[in-house]
Amino acid sequence: MLDAPTSPLAFVDAIRDGLDVAMQIDPHMICYGLGVDDPKRIFGTTTGLAEKYGNGRVFDVPTSEAAMTGIAVGAALRGVRSVTVHQRLDFFLLAMDQLINSAAKWHFMFGGQRSVPIVIRLILGRGWGQGPTHSQSLHSWFAHVPGLKVVMPTNAADAKGLLLSSIFDPNPVLFLEHRWLHQAVSEVPQGDYRLPIGQARVVAPGTDITITAMSYLVPEAIRAAEMLAKHGVSCEIIDLRTIRPLDLPAVSASVQKTGRLLALDSGLPICSVASEIVAFASERHFQSLRTAPRRLTMPDHPEATSFALTRDLHPSGESIASTVSDMLALPHRFARDPKAGPHDVPGAWFKGPF
């Protein structure tokens, strides 16, 4: 499997490929959500599927997030796996009862007799004025809940590998895709490529500090590590990939090695995944820690619409590098390159509006 031939794919194409592979393997798997068969095909992630598998398996639905989530649960009970999608995580708040009281608990509350293999794709918005109701990443909520699995892939290969594992996992999986990663290209294995859920990846080994990150903050952490490397600082970056279950052994091994921890979080700070990782490391590796652990997250308020108010809102390569430098009692501070493109888009490919 690991030796499967690869081809370079963008994140969106890797998702599409993963869905296609899964629907071929499981003739009963369905795929639905607002717009899965419309001209835009969820940013291209469902292109061709409606044509290939027909309206019985790939279909548009009413704007009824609560019911459509419970419907996935019911279909799963009848042996029909589904991948549903919400173009913004924010819309999915309408479905919390079905997520928490049905999907997450069904297996437990009926003594293990049935499980709920569903995948819910949630797209995370940011920038270009997405604002308070189109840019939320409440992944820490989901990480709080036993019975759920939560993955947050960073690159195209992981997206495909984790999506296939999520689809064939017997549990409900929330699959969080960052809109800003959608065009990230990497070598993606062909065919039925699966990555284990719950395994972090050491992006770059290092000795001075452990940096844990997820989703869009992984590339930012890599940028930070590059800046710091020029000053002789060696960062070990852990791409968590799954935030429930967390790969705590990976965190432990790294923190015991480096003695320093910076936990990044692409969401809000309080009761966050970053809080959890810092709490875990402080409880378990107090003796290994050479300096106080730190968190770097969004500020404790929503993302506003204005271009001016999103500048430096999220952790960036620069702010990560500056924080690490501070933790190491080094004098280096890093500022955004004024010649860089606008801060509210991931790159030139993003033309707005959505």
Binding site: A66, A67, I71, G74, N101, F110, G112
Partner: protein, 324 residues
């Protein structure tokens, strides 16, 4: 176990009696403090459950609500495992994890009841979608109360069922109350529930819920239509709960329901209604009723002994089943 009557009418009456007696036993035993979970009894509402149970195939999936004992039993759910669940035992139908409000018996298609109002409605619609995708010829039955129709998810689920023409049958037990709240403070005066359901696009009817024979007949016809692919249906049955909303006692001392209503509905006890209709039915008599009572009491006693004696779940397994 005693041989059940072959005659469908006799079976309907005996099934009602059995459900009644099983719940009366709960009411009797509950104060001992061994069934340590909230219980919502259906005493007075048995005709709907039994009529529906008779009309569905064993393999047809059903889901239900907090008030699901009768539905579970009428669908054929195991009695011993039911009582054991109320006692919190490992032998319970949900291994003691769910209690009275979370029943399941997959052997008879009882896919689960849950205790958040409206929560199983989309789950039931999803089951029907599942059968449709798999090309299975099943009718999914979704039990709801009148209160559950106030949850937006009912509307959403029904709408989707109509759009996709899913094989779903909604059974609404309209007992006029949600806890202590009469329907008039929750739904507009003059609204007819079945008309509202019909406006969503469900094939909809309203019927007396205390006449088990007409319930069985009506449901059978609806099940046939749904199975034939005519699209989702909705049946409203007027009925009445005798005991308190939650717990084993009468609570009419609280005065939240007109005494007159209570008296009228009790006069229309579904078991007595059936008995009256069966007067001249071959094979039926008060002696037969007595014999059934005896048989059922024996079955109940044995099941209660089973449940009481059954082992507790091992504390060490408390964290099991979080993930499959």
């Amino acid at each position: 176990m005693n041989a059940l009557p072959n005659d469908p009418s006799l079976k309907l009456v005996r099934d009602m009696l059995r459900v009644r007696m099983i719940e009366e036993a709960i009411a009797r035993e509950y104060p001992k403090g061994e069934m340590r979970c909230p219980v919502h009894l259906s005493i007075g509402q048995e005709a709907v459950a039994v009529g529906v149970g008779a009309a569905l195939e064993r393999t047809d999936p059903a889901v239900s609500t907090h008030r699901s004992h009768a539905h579970y039993l009428a669908k054929g759910g195991d009695l011993k495992r039911f009582y054991a669940e109320l006692f919190g035992k490992e032998a319970g139908c949900a291994k003691g994890r769910g209690g009275s409000m979370h029943l399941i018996d997959l052997d008879v298609g009882f896919e689960g009841s849950t205790a958040i109002v409206g929560n199983t409605i989309p789950v039931g619609v999803g089951l029907a979608l599942g059968t449709q995708v798999r090309g299975e010829n099943a009718v999914t039955c979704i039990f709801v109360g009148d209160g559950a129709l106030e949850e937006g998810v009912f509307f959403e689920s029904a709408n989707f069922a109509v759009v996709r023409k899913l094989p779903v049958l909604f059974i609404c037990e309209n007992n006029n109350y949600s806890v202590y709240s009469p329907i008039r403070v929750r739904q507009p005066t003059g609204r007819k529930i079945h008309e509202f359901a019909s406006s969503i696009g469900l094939h909809s009817q309203s019927h007396d819920g205390n006449d088990v024979f007409s319930v069985a007949e009506t449901v059978k016809a609806a099940v046939d239509d749904v199975r034939a692919g005519k699209g989702p249906a909705f049946l409203e049955f007027a009925t009445y709960r005798w005991l308190e909303h939650c717990g084993p006692y009468y609570d009419d001392n609280l005065g939240y329901r007109p005494e007159k209503d209570v008296a009228e509905w009790k006069a229309r006890d579904p078991i007595r209604v059936a008995e009256a209709k069966m007067q001249n039915h071959p094979g039926f008599s008060s002696d037969v009723m007595e014999r059934w009572r005896g048989e059922i009491a024996t079955e109940i006693d044995a099941a209660l002994v089973f449940a009481r004696d059954a082992a507790w779940p091992d504390t060490a397994t408390g964290g099991d089943y979080v993930y499959a």
